[in-house]
Symmetry: none
């Protein structure tokens, strides 16, 4: 019996609610050995109060030493083994713009490129055409229609856009058409298996029509296609946990990732305060809320230690609004560490805490890396956070008699 089978068997229905507050990249590093991390430097009276009454630990996002991207990082904290469930590049690109991929969709990362009169690629990125100009060219492609399928063409950034083909019987196993060099034409999309033949034919037809429509465009008169991918076959939050789950996030990437596991993306918050407004307003409509705070990661990526610590203080300030709602289990964690010292994601484990009536309080007195090393949750794989949260919310039955 694998872990997911077990959880599905044990899930229980009741009114208990879970809030998972994810501070992206919250884990950090001291600037010099023996010093304090960003989180340990920040003044966090509310989070420290939670650590006192809750249980803390250190979660390892993937495996020891592995630095996760946002995709695998979030799959882990959502309870999916990130080494088993791999999100294809097209699907991740779609997630990145918040596109809710369905089970009949194939997502493709496309690049505008420039071809010369002989049809050979002269610039694989169309001179990194500015995003606003690129979006206008994407709009031209929206008029393309193909039989029996729906098409979605959405801009991403600069020369990048996403094509989603929605229809029955479409496999995702198709070769890239980007030849990875100039002075040759784009390749044909070739199916790697029988199930993907129809996808390859549709992609070829899309390409042919697009080429005609773009012929007179000065910068972006052609396109290449990469990373054909279906939505990964993830059991949904409803199936796995029996939860009606909601995602409250500002950035499209996290909305997209949440929608892959069947969470409903709610609200249109632009700030953390507005995210909590949404949480309060929709409190009665769901029993699980994933609340994503981006800026701890952003300031870490900037390499700005003080600014990251300040973002953590902003996070701390909204905690009382969450606890006032009295969730049965409140989890505070991150999808990975982003130490300002490294100005990048890192492999370091993430301090994680859970508050619940049945949390076994430990001797941890604050929310921070050094303190969490001693906590009652120990060091554990991030993919167990969700079932620990379910247990702390008393939503899992006993295994065996």
């Amino acid at each position: 019996m694998d872990n997911h089978e077990l959880i599905q068997t044990l899930q229980e229905q009741n009114d208990n609610k879970i809030v998972m507050l994810v501070s992206d990249g919250i884990g950090g590093l001291p600037l010099k050995p023996g010093g304090k991390t960003e989180l340990e430097t920040a003044k966090t009276p509310n989070l420290d109060a939670l650590a006192k009454i809750g249980v803390s630990g250190m979660s390892t996002p993937i495996k020891p030493g592995i630095t996760p991207g946002s995709g695998p990082g979030h799959l882990g904290i959502f309870g999916y083994d990130p080494m088993k469930y791999i999100i294809g590049r097209g699907a991740l690109e779609a997630a990145g713009i918040g596109f809710a991929l369905g089970p009949n969709d194939v997502a493709i990362r496309c690049n505008f490129c420039t071809i010369d009169k002989t049809g050979n690629i002269s610039d694989r990125r169309a001179g990194r055409i500015p995003s606003d100009e690129s979006a206008a060219v994407v709009n031209i492609l929206k008029q393309i229609k193909l039989p029996d399928v729906e098409l979605f063409v959405e801009p991403v950034k600069e020369h990048r856009f996403v094509l989603v083909i929605r229809g029955k019987g479409l496999g995702g196993n198709v070769a890239d058409t980007d030849p990875q060099k100039t002075s040759v034409p784009p390749l044909d999309p070739i199916a790697h298996d029988d199930e993907s033949k129809k996808t390859a034919e549709l992609a070829k037809e899309f390409y042919n029509q697009a080429k005609k429509l773009l012929a007179d465009q000065p910068k972006a008169n052609c396109l290449t296609m990469r990373g054909f991918a279906k939505r990964p076959a993830l059991p949904s939050y409803k199936e796995l946990y029996g939860l009606n789950a909601a995602c409250i996030a500002v950035y499209p990437m996290y909305k997209g990732l949440a929608s892959l596991v069947g969470m409903e993306v709610i609200g249109e918050a632009k700030t953390l305060q507005e995210e909590i407004d949404v949480l309060e307003k929709r409190w009665n409509d769901y029993n699980f809320f994933f609340v994503h705070f981006k800026y701890t990661d952003s300031r870490g990526e900037d390499g700005d230690f003080d600014a990251k610590a300040k973002m953590i203080e902003e996070l701390d300030a909204i905690v009382p609004r969450i606890t006032a709602l009295k969730p049965s289990c409140l989890v505070v964690t991150g999808d990975h560490s982003t130490p300002a010292k490294m100005a990048s994601h890192s492999f370091h484990p993430v301090p994680t805490l859970m508050v619940s009536e049945i949390a076994r309080t430990d001797d941890v007195q604050e929310y921070g890396e050094t303190a969490a090393n001693h906590g009652g949750l120990g060091h554990f794989d991030a993919m167990y956070i969700m079932q620990l949260a379910m247990a702390h919310a008393e939503r899992l039955a006993k295994f065996g008699a």
Copy 2:
């Protein structure tokens, strides 16, 4: 995707170097409950200084409660799941004398035995013939030639020696010829699969020639063969980690184990000081160094608590010579514990520490068992030491976008 696949995908090339200092059997036990271990008793100012600026934890060699032999113990700290990669007995015997097994080799543990006039075994160990006499008899066997293959016959100790058959198409699945009792003749080598038929035939022919050559030997006039084994199919350090790895060791066993994973065995050190001489001299030639210190295990096996503590102090004394080389990541660990109290290898986890610019310092202030329980690496499987070292040396890229 399994862990090795992931590491192979993520390995990065740069100039960062890793030193793994392995103190064999370093973990210990207090002589009475509540007392200090050998490591906690020894004065280790240099290792303690590393613990202050680095990150510590407890590594479990195999699985909780499992006592490893040297083979599985080292496979674990080299990053190979010791329950997946099993070193056959013949291959381990060859490793034990430092014989670098190749991919076309079959290694066989042989015993000299004594047979009576009827051809029945009268002594399965040839009276435990002394090693020097045994070596002379081994020399007689070196004249044996067989078609299409190379033969290597090497003494081990007393009645034990190793036969290696090198050639194409040799399987390792052949039954032992030792009947495990006296008053019967040695068994025939029987192939368990088609691939091993040629091996069995060659072994039989070797046996027939050997029997004639040994007919007049007073003590050792026959032999038995056990543990036929190919080299285990381990991905090399080059493949797995992209590392040019060197092994610096005094004892043949550890050189043999290192060569199984593709490390180059360098120098001919006879003491720890000489091992560090080799490290210094060859510093520019490799990016990974496995430095093995044997005597903590030896004195533990002797049951000599004070002598083991003294060996740990010797180890501590050379630490500044290693840190002076400024490795990007220095790992200090052991392959298992060897408590003097037990006078044997044991299952107890091993205090492990890593020093690097990006180590997340914890509140551990010394290198020792009790302190390491609280460390930032937590309790983890020894097979993750290598990827943690790679991460701390910034030689692993991000997983996913």
